[in-house]
Amino acid sequence: MSGATLFGLLAAGLVGVGLYGFIVNPQPLRKILAFNVIGSGVFLLFGAVARRGAAAGMGGDPVPQALLITGIVVAFSATALAVAVLLRLHDVSGSATLSSDPPPAAGSEDGAK
């Protein structure tokens, strides 16, 4: 197994772990965290594809690698915006929840949206 395959499989695992956390964890900040785990998995998958494109004396295909740098920066700005929205929600409402009904009902699944 080559390094690209190893980290490609790791990327698949990370996307799965992040996706589960994104759906199941009710806290918005944890969803943002899980979103970043999914994102890094996707980036790693793309990086494995770039590594396989090694040619012309380069260790990897430079075009996907450059797009990855762009992607990481854009993911950071999306995270910063999401965190700012969450902190503002907390300041205005005094709570940080995605549930629409104020008292949390047992087994409520509204938060998963």
Binding site: L9, A12, V17, L19, N25, F43, P62, V63
Partner: protein, 313 residues
């Protein structure tokens, strides 16, 4: 070929990803995410993406984790109420099913990637001489796919405007985030005095070396932003009010110069963002130098958050 070190790194990354997702306390999960981001750089180096590794360490690991750590500290009081809304068994089973299916499909796709792999590396190698830079990634970012980089700089600016627009009405134009008051003789203030001169040199070096070696403006700007944030957190400097003219001028300087030079390219080389052959390197340098302060300020202010205090305390 794969060795034990990389297999161990992959396992550790997966374990930290799982820990980040399942840890009980958000603060602990965020610390896990910080370690996770730093370990991912090992994967990036193994994948021969040293430029990506630098970006991941600086932005994906460092800045993102810092942002989330500060948010988790502020939201700690709400944690118990929010985590009480844990979904039922059915939802969790369905989520596990979805996650395993997606991960399985991706793993199958990884194992079934075409051989030989499609690549643009020979094209990049054949045309890199026309750009005057030696690092193929910089050539892609600022010549072959300059439009992506321009739009990225504009996305950053829009995200910052989005963060600012979350300010309460009365605080518009004020200073972002809370004022930090650290002990002026404490270790934080000491580090905030000793580290920035070194950090600024390292940041500018990484920026400058990016033309020919791994590095570049995003990684360099992140280090400069981190140094600025360090002095802010130690209470040595304060975030500027967002209504300052010089601040707004510096923020739009990079994208404006980028667009301006792109328009020059339309007349001299026949297309927007095209560089005439002999002038490619100087034009790329001017764009990079103009983008650097804009990026450092944008990244730093994005971490500082929405305005929360009036401009005059």
């Amino acid at each position: 070929m794969i060795d034990a070190f990389h297999a161990a790194a992959a396992l550790l990354i997966l374990a930290l990803g799982i820990y980040t997702t399942f840890a009980r306390e958000t603060f602990a999960a965020t610390v896990g995410f910080l370690a996770y981001g730093l370990l991912l750089t090992v994967a990036w180096v193994q994948l021969r993406g040293v430029d990506v590794a630098l970006t991941e360490a600086a932005i994906g690991g460092g800045l993102t984790a810092m942002l989330l750590l500060r948010a988790s500290a502020r939201l700690r009081a709400t944690e118990a109420a929010a985590s009480a809304q844990r979904p039922g068994v059915t939802t969790r089973l369905l989520a596990a099913f979805v996650a395993v299916s997606v991960a399985g499909a991706l793993a199958l796709a990884v194992l079934a990637l075409p051989v030989p792999a499609p690549t643009l590396a020979p094209e990049a190698a054949a045309n890199i001489a026309t750009t005057g830079v030696g690092n193929p990634i910089t050539a892609v970012l600022l010549a072959f796919r300059a439009m992506d980089t321009l739009l990225e700089a504009i996305v950053l600016l829009f995200a910052l405007i989005g963060v600012w627009s979350l300010a309460p009405d009365g605080m518009w134009g004020g200073r972002p985030g809370p004022r930090h008051n650290a002990d002026p003789h404490g270790i934080l203030a000491f580090i905030a005095r000793v580290l920035p001169p070194i950090g600024i040199v390292v940041g500018i070096y990484i920026f400058w070396i990016g033309a020919d070696h791994p590095g570049g403006k995003f990684q360099g700007a992140t280090i400069l932003a981190a140094m600025w944030l360090l002095t802010m957190m130690a209470g040595l400097t304060d975030a500027p009010p967002i209504s300052r003219r010089w601040l707004r001028a510096l923020l739009v300087l990079g994208p404006a110069v980028f667009i301006g030079i792109g328009v020059v390219g339309a007349f001299t080389a026949g297309a927007f963002l095209a560089w005439p052959e002999d002038w490619a390197k100087p034009m790329i340098l001017v764009i990079e130098i103009a983008l650097m302060p804009s990026l450092a300020l944008t990244l730093g202010l994005m971490l500082a958050g929405a305005p929360e205090r009036p401009a005059q305390p």
